[in-house]
Amino acid sequence: MIGPVLAARPDQDLDSGSVLPDLRKPPITKMQLVKYAGASGDYNLIHTDDETARTVGLDGVIAHGMLSMAFLGEYLCWLAGPESVRRISVRFVAMVRPGDTLTCRGRVKERRTSNAVRRLRLEVWTENQRAERVTVGEAEVEIT
């Protein structure tokens, strides 16, 4: 992966309403949820153990909301560079299950430029393979 993809874009391609390129993630697997549990320290068993998930009324394990947010974090790093992310704010609006494929999408809400630094306020979200939004939010990045 090369990036940041937005740095090379001229201002007029970053005006309010400009649609950002997509980042499609590989399908979520149970193995990924176990790895994310270990890496993040979130050991809530509803994410890794089907039996526990069923005792709280789920059909089976669901992904950590923070995993979807991490996808958006990667999306911002890809768009603007990992040094450029100033804010990311999301709401978790739908459940994600193993086998779901999430795509990160976004558009520009506002662009402000001062001293050659462009600060962008972005609408970002992840959606599943049925085009249902599962994580919705806003972010701010600074690109030079």
């Binding site: 992966m1 990036g3 320290g41 005792t55 909301g65 995993l67 991490a70 990667e74 990992p82 978790f92």
Partner: protein
Amino acid sequence: MDHSPALTSDLIGRESEVVLFEVERGAIRKFADAVQDQTSACVRGDVAPPTFPTTFRMTIPGVSFDLARVLHGAQEYQYERPLRAGDRVRCRVRVADVYHRQGRLGEMTFLILAMEGQDESGSRVFTGTTTAILR
């Protein structure tokens, strides 16, 4: 599972201890691997991904709940600069708000937690806000 005590507005303002976390290169790499994050600086373990502070786990005295009954409603992080391998951040989390709402599934409790991480000179590096919904 134990029945946790009800969360009330009495808890607002309650804080965790200040905990020192060292941002380890290996932990960044492991996190990036789990997420399948292909950002080069994160894969190398140089720069922490934006949601990395989720690994900084702290407890607040008196604030406990049954994990099976909690939903993560929302999350925000704000950065003065990114976290990098080798950073030592002093973190604290505080109950910013507790309120109750009637929802479709009955009464729900909203717990808002505010986290802050400072570098060793006392400058703020990041803040985090967690909205947990307990049903």
